[in-house]
Amino acid sequence: MPSLSEKVLKVRSKNAGPFWVTIDIFCGSKPAFEEVCAKLKTERVAELYKAPLETLKRFDIADLNVVKFSLPRPVVQGSREDRDMHGAGWAVLLEEAELA
């Protein structure tokens, strides 16, 4: 089964302030955007990031062919448990996720 990264242009994650992380999926084309919108369930993303479903914000932005998720950081930026100061590494979980 193909991974998301084979379908889209780029997946980017970054802090949105010390308490949130935001993940942008640049689909690159209308068909890819529509496929991601249809197949990538918010529940699946919550599962990947082990986050309660109700804490995820999702934006399907047709004008940009972008699907965006924002969620509270699994741990606060720079706290003792933090392993990724800029939150850029979390994108790989979605890149590698299979698009069923």
């Binding site: 949130w20 934006f59 706290s79 003792r80 100061m85």
Partner: protein
């Protein structure tokens, strides 16, 4: 009145294209505005009150901008000076400015906008119900507020306008919102409010809103219906996609941005290409609300010592997790018997580089690593204790065997001493807002403005 703002770069210290800056100055801007900070690198800068960028990089870029200001004859404004925008980093930036004024033979009037908050003020405001949590916020009480090493409030356009009203040549701001220094002058001159905040958000990372992010320099024209953005580097272009996509960047919600005194809503914004390089934006809306400013604070959460070993032996590399689990149990016993410390008195964490060090519990892939880096991080209430634990565990991290009947292994230590004392572990301790009175009465209620003139004869 149309207002032309030149933004040399997303942040001072990151560099910009000199030719592009010259082109921007030639375009006769009304103001030059640049950001000096962010929380992006973590809590250390705010906790310690230090700049993340080197003094040398900051000074060399500020030199170019002070020259550009003198040539353009317009104010130069920096927001969030010295990464965190504490009073100490404003003064650090002012000291650099004084040196440069002397070296360049410039006479300049400097306005200093201070954003640091006395802890007692925030503790009182908390008791009075004027400090409110955002989502998600760390739990705080007056006692925790008083323990913080630095607290800053994010100034908005009104405070930057007060600084500009002094007629200063250079305005050095403590913590401001990323957008305030860019939006201040257009708003003061009555340009479209939604356009002013939206254009400021688009330009605050410099050329990141263009096709050539590292070129830095951006020019924004604000007017009564919206704004037009154009990159100054010849190699860069702004397209409706590159501009609108910038609203995604480091934003929880790509359509709404909260600022002191209201919020920007860009759901109705229309992005239109004027030509190959310029984009026109209209339709963004500013919705006034209560006047609140965001607070940032940091506290010391302990002191750290680290140790690093590399497991290259295939058996150890493939059994790294098991090795660390056994080692940890053994070390907890040693620390207890030799130092009298229980696991709750300190924190010890071994991260396996090559296995799951970036994602931790979220990692869902497994492989066979050639080698595994073991990064041990000890956090304790004092540096002395953390350092002592580091020294105590050092020989075991070097030699601990997986099984009892094998010859003592020795792992690779990359340096001597094997332990590194990291100093304080700071943590962000506030995600709150502070309610203020109407800034029309007193824009500087929670801020402080000082003026200074630095005069030097022209060098001949």
């Amino acid at each position: 009145m149309p207002t032309r703002v030149l933004v040399p770069s997303g942040v001072l210290g990151l560099g910009f294209d000199r030719e592009a800056l010259a082109r921007g100055v030639a375009a006769k801007p009304d103001i030059i505005a640049i950001d000096g900070g962010s929380t992006d690198s973590g809590p250390f800068s705010l906790g310690a009150g230090e700049s993340k960028y080197s003094r040398a990089a900051t000074k060399s870029e500020w030199r170019q901008l002070m020259r550009a200001r003198a040539e353009a004859g317009v104010p130069l404004v920096i927001g969030t000076a010295g990464t965190c925008g504490t009073d100490a980093t404003v003064d650090w930036m002012v000291a650099i400015t004084r040196e440069l004024a002397e070296e360049l033979g410039q006479t300049v009037k400097i306005a200093k906008l201070y954003s640091s908050q006395p802890k007692e003020r925030i503790a009182s405001a908390l008791r009075e119900g004027r400090v409110m949590p955002l989502e998600p916020a760390p739990a705080i009480d007056a006692g925790k507020v008083l323990e913080m090493t630095n607290i800053v409030a994010l100034a908005g356009a009104e405070q930057v306008q007060a600084a500009l009203a002094t007629g200063a040549d250079i305005v050095i701001c403590g913590r401001t919102t990323d957008t305030a220094t860019i939006a201040a002058l257009p708003l003061l001159r009555g340009d479209h409010a939604g356009g002013a905040w939206h254009g400021a958000k688009i330009a605050e990372c410099g050329a990141l809103c263009s096709t050539n992010p590292t070129s830095g320099v951006i020019l924004v024209d604000f007017d009564e219906t919206g704004f037009t953005v154009e990159p100054m580097a010849k190699s860069a272009r702004c397209t409706p996609h590159s501009v609108s996509a910038h609203m995604l960047y480091e934003n929880v919600d790509p359509f709404v941005l909260y600022e002191p005194g209201g919020r920007l809503d860009v759901r109705g914004a229309v992005y239109r290409a004027l030509d190959e390089r310029r984009v026109r934006v209209e339709g963004s809306e500013w919705i006034p609300g209560p006047y609140t400013v965001k607070l940032e604070g940091a506290r010391v959460a302990g002191y750290q010592t680290t140790i690093m070993a590399v497991l290259r032996n295939t058996h150890y590399a493939t059994h790294a997790r098991e090795w660390v689990a056994k080692l940890t149990t053994f070390l907890e016993g040693e620390i207890d018997s030799r130092m009298g410390l229980k696991p709750g008195d300190y924190h010890m964490d071994f991260r396996l580089i090559g296995v799951d060090s970036a994602l931790g519990a979220l990692e869902n892939r497994q492989g066979t690593p050639v080698e595994v880096g073991v990064l041990g991080v000890v956090t304790a209430p004092t540096q002395e204790t953390a350092a002592e634990i580091g020294k105590l565990i050092n020989p075991f991290v070097l030699h601990y065997p997986l099984t009892e009947d094998e010859e003592l292994p020795t792992f690779a230590f990359p340096y001597s001493p094997a332990t590194t004392d990291r100093g304080e572990l700071f943590e962000f301790a506030l995600n709150h807002i502070l309610a203020l009175d109407d800034p029309a009465d007193d824009p500087l209620a929670a801020f402080r403005l000082e003026l200074e003139e630095v005069g030097h004869a022209e060098l001949v």
